[in-house]
């Protein structure tokens, strides 16, 4: 009887050990920590929006305009003295190849006497002109980083009144921020 009891106790202990071993093995597993890294998106100014050298209207004359398209083409009614210095604003954007992005463009009119900004437009490479808000931020649609880069151009209209004074002027600024979609 004693022997039987002892064997029973040993068997129970053995069974307990097996159960314990099985539970410990099931508690091991692994998972990978993953991340996909992309090239940071960056933007830098290439050229300012330069309306060139133009004449102020005579006193009492109607205000004149200079229009620079996103392609850099210059038109308008103002008397142009030197068309060589007229350029659209251009920004170079670099980042992850083929990624879509949204440029947010803020055009500010600095209120220089006799000068006012209007009808600003922006365009990504291969896109079409999109109207921009003066004094606010506008996001352009449909922009992408083909081959990891893109060019954003901005043009607009400068109206010159007879109250303007001669000299080099900065009637506004164009701020651009870019982010992946």
């Amino acid at each position: 009887m004693k022997i039987y009891t002892k064997l029973t106790a040993i068997a129970a202990a053995s069974t307990l050990a097996m159960v314990s071993q099985t539970a410990w093995a099931a508690d091991h597993d692994s998972a990978n920590a993953t991340v996909t890294l992309v090239t940071p998106i960056q933007v830098s100014k290439t050229t300012d929006l330069a309306f060139g050298q133009v004449a102020i209207p005579s006193v009492g004359a109607t205000a004149t305009t200079i229009i620079i398209g996103t392609s850099g083409a210059q038109t308008g009614t103002a008397d142009k003295v030197d068309t060589q210095t007229a350029t659209a604003a251009a920004f170079a954007i670099t980042g992850q190849d083929t990624f879509a992005y949204t440029p947010s463009i803020t055009v500010s009119d600095l209120g220089v006497t006799g000068l006012s900004l209007s009808s600003f437009k922006g365009q990504c490479s291969g896109g079409s002109d999109q109207s921009l808000t003066i004094g606010g931020s506008t996001g352009l649609a449909g922009c992408a980083l083909a081959s990891g880069s893109d060019t954003l151009t901005v043009g607009g209209t400068l109206t010159i009144a007879d109250t303007a004074t001669s000299g080099a002027k900065t009637p506004g600024t164009i701020a651009v921020s870019v982010a992946y979609n």
């Binding site: 597993d29 998972a31 990978n32 996909t36 030197d82 506004g172 651009v176 870019v178």
Partner: protein, 148 residues
């Protein structure tokens, strides 16, 4: 439970930073250089007018008629335009040069002659690039005209 908890942590790590942080910024200026309008003074002095047509400069001189100069090129280094005058306009321009230089150039349209002065407060400089004159005073002229 430990496994599920571990996966949750990994998923959160894999999402990375919010997209709004992946951005860049730059700013461009809007610039223009304005010059005073060149126009007739009350005293009806020599008149110098800009044409509404790009590349064409109209010069009017009281008592001497007027002529239109058509841009033929531009010197990117100096920022000046080159204008060509017709044969009949050369004499008029010669008169203008004489007015500007107050006789300093002697009215001679020889290459390299540079004259400068003011017309109604507008600084003007002319540089003769090439000229040919006949005995009767007619001829052709190429010159650069710079306003300041």
């Amino acid at each position: 439970m430990r496994k599920i908890g571990g996966l949750s942590a990994i998923a959160a790590f894999a999402m990375g930073p919010a997209p709004a942080l992946a951005r860049g910024q730059a700013e461009a200026g809007v610039t223009v250089t304005l010059v005073s309008p060149a126009e007739a003074s009350a005293a009806a002095a020599t008149r110098l007018l800009f044409s509404q047509t790009p590349g064409v400069l109209t010069i009017a001189i009281p008592g001497a008629g007027s002529l239109a100069l058509t841009a033929t090129g531009a010197d990117s280094a100096s920022g000046t335009f080159t204008f060509a005058a017709s044969a009949e306009g050369a004499a008029t321009l010669r008169a203008l040069m004489a007015d500007l230089a107050a006789g300093a150039s002697g009215g001679t349209l020889s290459p390299g002659v540079t004259v400068s002065g003011f017309l109604a407060g507008q600084g003007v400089q002319l540089v003769v690039l090439g000229a040919s004159q006949g005995a009767d005073g007619s001829g052709s002229l190429r010159a650069t005209i710079t306003f300041d």
